[in-house]
């Protein structure tokens, strides 16, 4: 019975649509859970700036407030370890997701970011068997997710050696930064056959390439509604084909249920894996319908989903 | 006092030439000073006095000329460091303490040897002792930040620091217009101290535009004109009149008071400024020269600033202002340091020529030409930066800024600081004419004869107006009495 337990969400960033969708999902699912009395409280906390130090302080405050569990999307996999350790020492359950932490006492709901990078190249190998030139758009330098996805992409390129990366820019996971960076290198690049991305930057790349008057390469999308909408437009106009892959913001609700299960005394392995959300040519229309205007393709998880994930990990 | 000229001079400069672009600030000047001597240095604004001083203290290198040290050795690499090692200290025309530091901490800046444990108490006792000696009753807490002191107190602190010695003895103190913001009683105290300092073998260079003072304090007077030394004689050989002549100005006429017609009783003042704490209500009428007197630092500036703020807008400016202000503390209150002289002169009148909010360069330049001539700013070109002007000439530019407006009220905060005697006469004349034509002047001054030019005078003490004097009652005697809180018969 967890009806007297209080769970907190510690979030390091709220400044993009993915995070906003994550917070909305959290509110939706936990609001329901609190009202039916599954848990006593499930509050969300966001830091003003995306910084590990600030989030560490936030975690320490959450410990002081006596939360029983902290669900954590971390700014850094290692820099929060001190604070997470303190939480564990104080008897607080810590479940990290998306941005996970390496501290052993915490639970991790990991996304296989490496695989997410690799499948992009694999997909391209199916589409362009003869291979070609890739433009890689990376995220924010020095951040773990960026490093992982990029490593996955490079692994894919090693595997399918008909592809080579001819340009690589950092788009900071933001449309406008990606657009700016791509526009800057594009004039110097040879013909581009495909663009591999990390999410949140596909539309910006498309805009930049269109502005340069080049042939549209296959751009791997990142599940944002504007990307999917653009893809649909292109598909209707000229049969454009691509894929879209990203982690669903609703994973926060999965973390919530996992935390609830741990509090409930369930034996949960420290490391869980959640699949990423893929949109293909066939599921395009469906995804477009369910995704809010300007938002991100999403799924929310139920208690049963969580149990299934836990069972799979055992 | 007898000076022993057989002794080696503390420092000797021969054939000094210093150019700033086209301006010959020094044009072959010779200068020497012996131990125990006080040399007065006078000359019109821009004559080159401050430049000479800056050469002696090592701050400026010469284009030509030779500097001989007290050892008799010719110095080829004369610098601030060499000068300080010779025991040369300087009080600059512009206040040059660190405003954020206390007086004690400024002592530390002045004496690099003051360090190690206990330096603070050592410095404090040194500076307190000197302050008490030079300016008895100075009222300065040497632990306070300089910025919290009044301008007169800062000046006193700077003087005391310059006379102090630690390590190398102080051989020569240069005072560049040290009394410009001191009232007469403080100036007398300083002069008395300079004499004891001389008696103990120290040398002093004393620069001032108040000629009586210079005659009083110095053994020898050097007169400069246009970068050259034009006269160098014992002070007994000069009178105020002959000094003025030597400087090349017109002979000073005595600054008499105007005779003004009696005011109608019903006339409304141009400005009234009732303050609770004042014993007498402040009023000024059309066409009047109102003086503010009293010892310096007793709240006169505050009243002038308050008056100005009350009649000019923080949010909106009129095309023609109601009041204009002439700063005395020019660096803090007046000058825009990176602008040219012209831009500094026109900023208050700019609105007059605006069309669709745009300025009119031609009119602006014309205005500059007019006032350049009218008030005699010594510079070949108004496009030079304002800071290239000598102190007195900067002051003239500020005068031009205020007088050129059409404001019916002009507020002046001891504006004649460092202005030479010739120009002063011209300005007095200008003020009288303007007042006759209906302008009102409110004029704070630390110099008694300036105050005595006014039609009516308010005397300040401890931040309050304590007395109003009018007509013939405006006299040095009455003003002093009121400033010291004595009843006047």
């Amino acid at each position: 019975d967890t009806s007297d337990k209080r769970i907190a969400l510690s979030n390091n960033y709220a400044g993009n649509s993915w995070r906003q969708a994550m917070l909305t999902s959290w509110e939706l699912v936990t609001g329901e859970a609190v009202s039916v009395g599954v848990v006593a409280a499930a509050d969300a906390f966001t830091t003003a700036e995306n910084q590990a130090t600030e989030q560490a302080a936030q975690i320490q405050n959450l410990i002081l407030q006596g939360y029983d569990a902290i669900v954590l999307n971390a700014a850094s996999p290692t820099a929060l370890n001190g604070a997470v350790r303190e939480a564990c020492d104080a008897g607080v359950i810590v479940v990290s997701f998306d941005g996970i932490v390496t501290e052993p006492c915490a639970w991790r709901i990991a996304v296989e970011f490496r695989e997410m990078g690799r499948v992009q190249v694999e997909y391209l190998a199916g589409r362009i068997p003869e291979g070609g030139n890739l433009l890689e758009i990376r995220g924010l330098a020095g951040v773990f997710v960026d490093d992982e996805i990029s490593a996955g992409i490079h692994q894919g390129v090693a595997e399918f050696s008909q592809f080579q990366i001819v340009g690589s820019v950092h788009g900071d996971w933001a449309q406008d930064v990606a657009q700016r960076a791509v526009a800057g290198v594009l004039p110097s690049l040879p013909q581009i056959d495909a663009v591999v991305t990390q999410g949140g930057d596909g539309y910006g790349a498309a805009q930049a390439i269109a502005a340069a008057g080049r042939d549209m390469p296959i751009i791997i999308m990142g599940n944002r509604q504007d990307e999917i909408a653009w893809w649909k437009e292109q598909k209707d106009a000229n049969g454009y084909e691509t894929m879209s892959v990203s982690i669903a913001p609703g994973v926060s609700t999965l973390a919530f249920w996992v935390a609830q299960q741990i509090l409930d005394g369930e034996d949960v392995p420290q490391d869980l894996v959640v699949p990423f959300l893929t949109i293909t040519q066939d599921t395009l229309e469906e995804a477009l319908e369910t995704t809010p205007e300007g938002g991100v393709a999403n799924v929310e998880y139920s208690l049963d989903d969580a149990k299934a994930v836990i069972a799979a990990a055992k | 006092m007898d000076t022993n000229m057989s002794e080696r001079p503390v420092i000797e400069i021969t054939g000094a030439r210093k150019l700033f672009g086209a301006v010959k600030a020094l044009d072959g000047a010779d200068f020497a000073i012996a131990p125990g001597e006080c040399v007065g240095l006078v000359g019109h604004n821009g004559a080159g006095k401050s430049t000479l001083v800056n050469v002696i203290n090592g701050g400026l290198g010469l284009n030509e000329g030779q500097i001989t040290l007290s050892s008799g050795q010719v110095s080829s690499d004369f610098s601030i460091r060499v000068a300080r090692a010779q025991g040369i200290r300087c009080v600059f025309q512009e206040l040059s303490l660190c405003p954020n530091l206390s007086v004690v901490e400024n002592m530390r800046i002045a004496h690099s040897g003051l360090s190690g444990p206990g330096w603070r108490s050592q410095a404090r006792s040194m500076v307190d002792e000197l302050l008490d000696k030079i300016f008895p009753g100075h009222g300065i807490d040497s632990g306070r930040a300089v910025s919290e002191l009044s301008i007169a107190q800062r000046q006193m602190a700077e003087i005391a620091i310059a006379f102090s010695s630690h390590g190398a003895p102080t051989a020569l103190v240069i005072l560049d217009e040290p009394t410009s913001s001191l009232d007469a009683s403080r100036a007398e105290q300083l002069i008395a101290y300079v004499k004891t300092f001389n008696a103990a073998g120290g040398a002093v260079i004393f620069i001032s535009h108040i000629l009586g003072e210079v005659l009083d304090v110095s053994d020898r007077i050097v007169v400069m004109r246009d970068g050259k030394v034009v006269s160098d004689k014992p002070s007994s050989a000069f009178t105020v009149g002959s000094l003025v002549q030597a400087m090349g100005s017109v002979a000073a006429e005595s600054a008499g008071r105007r005779t003004v017609a009696k005011r109608a009783v019903s006339e409304a003042p141009v400005i009234a400024f009732p303050r609770e704490r004042d014993a007498v209500e402040f009023e000024a009428f059309k066409g009047e020269l109102v003086g503010l007197a009293g010892l310096s630092g007793h709240g006169q500036t505050q009243l002038i600033v308050d008056l100005f703020m009350s009649v000019s807008g923080d949010w909106w400016a009129r095309r023609e202002p109601v009041a204009a202000f002439v700063a005395g503390d020019r660096i803090v209150d007046g000058v825009f340091p990176i602008w040219s002289i012209l831009l500094n002169m026109t900023i208050a009148v700019l609105g007059r020529w605006q069309r669709f909010g745009l300025t009119d360069r031609a009119q602006e330049a014309e205005y500059g030409r007019t006032w350049h001539e009218k008030i005699g700013i010594r510079t070949p070109n108004l496009d030079h930066p304002i800071l290239s002007l000598s102190g007195g000439n900067q002051q003239k530019a500020l005068f031009a800024r205020a007088l050129g407006t059409s404001a019916p009220l002009v507020l002046m905060d001891d504006p004649m600081r460092g202005v030479d005697i010739g120009t002063k006469q011209d300005v007095y004349q200008m003020l009288r004419e303007e007042a006759d034509s209906g302008r009102t002047f409110i004029w704070y001054s630390t110099e008694m004869d300036e105050v005595c030019v006014c039609d009516r005078v308010y005397v300040f003490r401890e931040g309050r107006i304590v007395r109003e004097l009018e007509g013939d009652a405006v006299s040095e005697e009455n003003i002093l009495a009121a400033s010291f809180g004595e009843r006047v018969a």
Partner: protein, 315 residues
Amino acid sequence: MTQLVSIYRSRWIWSFVAAAVVWTITVMFTGGASMVGLTQAAFTFAAFSIIVGLGQMFVITLGPGNVDLSIPATMTLSGTVALKFINVDASLIVPGFLIAAGIGLGVGLANYSLIKLLRIPPIIATLAMSFIIQSTAIWTNRGLRIRPPQPLSDFAVGFTFGLPNLAWVALLISALIYLLLEKSVFGRWVIAVGQNMRAARLAGIPVDGVRCLTYVLCAVLAAICGFFLASFSGGAALNMGAEYLLMSIAVVVIGGTSVAGGDSNVPGIWGASLFMFLVVSMLNTYGFDAGYRMIMTGIIIIGVIIAASSRTVRI
């Protein structure tokens, strides 16, 4: 006079020289083939930094401690609200633009009220304000991207006479700002306040009015920039202004405006904005890793400032 002119000229010419050098090196990579594309991209993206830079320049001219850190948040809020209001309806473009500008006006006034009424130093006041604006932006739309109407986005990505439309917009704004700064009474007042605020007040300048208007001007320009950036990149994102916090300061100072206040420069902002875009493009083109790229960016910025300073004679 001529001496002064030459000093001023050499101050900002350096940012152009630097931009040209970097441009040449980048173009060399493709043996000149990327000339047109790179130039057009540079002008497109420089336009944004120019627009916010001009506002920041005015604020920085007000003297030490004056800087507007609320620019990114203002861009986000104006872009979000305007596009939400327009809601893909082409007939509402003009009112939407006015709403964006109105938001700038509001932000500027709010900034200055904090500075004036609560005497909060500008750097903190605008930082605190930026948090509030950012929250407002989140609250209005929760980060959903609304697309701009077709004519607006066509305009934002379009070209006229070979130059991007946005560069023309930036040129127009620059000309107005130049007039304001160099030829108007207001500009003279701003520069006076930047040199010595007390002296400015005592010279009869309405200091509060001038400072307030300056902050408003900066916020309005940021808001306009946010509006165009959102139209250009297909919708407003919550983090879309983040780049422009340091960028706006960098282009102002690299462009030759003195951080000590009272001395500013319009053309330099163009040079600096082109330069800042081209540096990143050059390093991207030559395929440096992120770490080396940052190091080189830093060294190049310092290099340009040092080169410019050797021609700068402080009087």
